[in-house]
């Protein structure tokens, strides 16, 4: 499984930032099983990069190919299958159902393309320290708890690529480490790639590729 970026340039980014980038307007490829870190300050397009790969936005030129297929040609049904089976994501803004409980948020994702049993949710939640929050509404959880919920949600499906957009911004060092360990285990089990975008390199994430935007 391979994702290839061919001269991808956000249409809104200044030419100067594109010229200095190791990602934009380059030929870049990511393979299953790889560890990739994308480092960039705010405003350089980290979130846009994740959204482009996930198919949420199309305001770029160039091509993003998944196993040779240009994802800009995908229709709504294609993307739905893509997001169920091939790519998972942790959004910077979490994007949870605030009126639903933690368990409902996780279960609505798990039942779509089940990879784990329901009991695994409880195990993961306990491991990340939110086991007692499962029946609480997401809107009542802190940002740190919401971020851990978003991480657990992303691990409920099969994937070849796991996209992480500043996944630990609201976690302390200890929780970051525990979360990273869980993510590594899940990605390794699936032989999947992790593409992590953040403001600076994460010390307990050992990427094979580091790209500066």
């Amino acid at each position: 499984m391979q994702i290839k970026l061919q001269a991808v340039k956000p249409t809104f980014l200044e030419p100067g930032k594109i010229d200095r980038s190791q990602l934009w307007n380059q030929l870049v490829g990511f393979e299953s099983g790889q560890r990739v870190q994308v480092v960039a300050p705010s405003g350089s397009g980290k979130t846009s990069f994740v959204h482009f790969l996930y198919g949420l936005r199309k305001d770029y030129t160039g091509s993003i190919l998944y196993d040779g297929k240009d994802i800009s040609q995908f229709n709504a049904e294609d993307f739905s299958g893509w997001r169920q089976q091939k790519v998972s994501v942790v959004f910077q803004d979490m994007r949870l159902f605030m009126q639903q409980t933690v368990m409902e948020n996780l279960e609505i994702k798990r039942i779509l393309s089940p990879y784990h049993k329901e009991s695994r949710i409880t195990d993961m939640a306990t491991r990340l320290g939110i086991g007692n929050k499962l029946d609480k509404k997401c809107g009542t959880c802190s940002y740190g708890e919401q971020q851990r919920i978003a991480i657990i949600r992303s691990l409920q499906q099969p994937f070849d690529f796991l996209l992480l957009d500043e996944p630990f911004s609201h976690l302390d060092e200890q929780n970051r480490s525990i979360a990273m360990q869980l993510i590594e285990e899940e990605a390794t089990e699936r032989k999947a790639a992790i593409i992590l975008a953040d403001l600076k390199p994460i010390e307990y994430f050992k990427p094979e590729i580091t790209l500066f935007l």
């Binding site: 049904e77 997001r83 994007r95 639903q100 039942i111 779509l112």
Partner: protein, 395 residues
């Protein structure tokens, strides 16, 4: 795992505007009921007001003449060949034939058994149109016996009015064939005597009929008129109360024998009323569906954020459209089935209590009513699905 609406129900805002939703259900039910009942009543009216007399062999036979008014009294009221052809080719008319009358004078007398003498008339018509044609209804040139078919109405008139007023014996239908009357045909070219014998009685044709070849021969031999056009036309039709036929006859100022068409105007009015009700029913259905579509659009708008997020995390828009729209299929089925059952109940009650189990009406609703209900159901489901799909794909 099989996903269904119950898995996403909590993520949709469906409980708001319950009132408008229930109102739309009610409106749909009333509209469907109105439409189905209108269709059934239309069929009932057709069945009840169709002439099904025993001798009609499935057809109505009506005689048509040109209406004589004060203004046109001096005109010729016979039918031209073109007018006959026009009648033949009318929709709903299976056949048309002229009734040919005598163009000479005829005197009839009853002899010693029936001491009377009177002028009379004779007519002839294509035998296909006569309800009873015995084998004796034939004539060949030189034969002095004239077979006649007498209208049952005329026999009744004779027995009830003519005979008592002249102290003549009354005659039954079975005895009339034993009565011989003297006929004398006369005109500018001479006269000839014949013996007339009634060989059959007709319920269909109000006339005294003789074989066609006899009248043609006699008109030529004794006739005093060059006008061969008939003054009466007989029409053969499946339904004498056909509104289009009656409208045509009215436009042309043709008269018809009223007993056959007495229900025509009544049928027209009733069917117009019922059609109006059906139209109103359709309007109510449309309004109810419009109200329900507003409810659906509002529900989707209120649930927009959650629906967008469901799509973002990988839910298929096609699956969401189908699942959300399927949610209301049981409601539609329930409404249409209830309306159909109520319609069936009302029809049965009408046939049993109002029409006293009259055989012209079946106690069961017509198949077209069931088909209409099915079509309405499928249409509702399809419109519902299209609306939800359009709303979801636009998110």
């Amino acid at each position: 795992m099989h996903l269904s609406f119950k898995h996403i129900a909590a993520f949709l805002v469906t409980d708001k505007n319950k009132g408008s939703r229930l109102l739309s259900y009610f409106g749909l039910g009333i509209g469907v009921l109105l439409l189905l009942c209108s269709i059934q009543m239309y069929i009932n009216i057709n069945n009840l007001l169709q002439n099904k007399s025993a001798r009609s062999d499935g057809y109505d036979y009506i005689s048509v003449t040109k209406t004589i008014t004060n203004d046109n009294m001096s005109e010729d009221h016979s039918f031209t060949p073109a007018e006959l052809q026009e009648l033949k080719t009318l929709p709903g008319i299976d056949d048309a034939t002229p009734l040919i009358g005598n163009k000479f004078l005829i005197k009839a007398s009853g002899g010693d058994a029936f001491p009377f003498s009177a002028d009379m008339f004779l007519e002839s018509i294509d035998e296909k149109f006569i309800d009873t044609v015995p084998p004796t209804f034939t004539w060949k040139e030189g034969q002095d016996l004239v077979p006649m078919i007498l209208s049952s109405d005329y026999l009744e008139l004779y027995n009830s009015v003519f005979a008592p007023s002249r102290d003549l014996p009354q005659v039954s239908q079975s005895m009339i064939s034993s009565v011989m009357i003297q006929l004398e045909f006369y005109g500018p070219n001479g006269s000839q005597k014949f013996r007339g014998n009634v060989v059959a009685v007709s319920d269909r044709i109000n006339s005294v009929l003789v074989p066609t070849n006899l009248l043609a021969w006699a008109n030529q031999k004794f006739g005093n008129s060059t006008n061969a056009n008939p003054a009466r036309i007989f029409l053969k039709t499946k339904d004498a109360n056909n509104p289009q036929l009656l409208n045509f006859l009215q436009q042309k100022n043709y008269g018809v024998n009223k007993d056959k068409t007495k229900f025509g105007r009544v049928k027209q009015v009733l069917q117009a009323i019922v059609s109006g009700l059906a139209g109103f029913g359709v309007l109510v259905i449309l309004l109810a569906m419009l109200l329900f579509s507003f409810y659906l659009q509002l529900m989707i708008a209120r649930s927009k954020d959650n629906l967008q997020l469901l799509l973002t995390i990988g839910y298929s828009p096609k699956w969401l459209s189908k699942t959300v729209s399927k949610r209301w299929i049981p409601v539609y089925v329930g409404i249409v089935v209830v309306a159909l059952l109520v319609c069936a109940g009302l029809h049965w009650g009408f046939q049993h209590f109002v029409m006293n189990d009259r055989t012209a009406l079946s106690p069961f609703i017509h198949w077209s009513v069931v088909v209409t209900a099915l079509v309405l159901l499928l249409l509702s489901i399809w419109v519902n699905y299209r609306l939800v799909k359009k709303s979801l794909y636009s998110l």
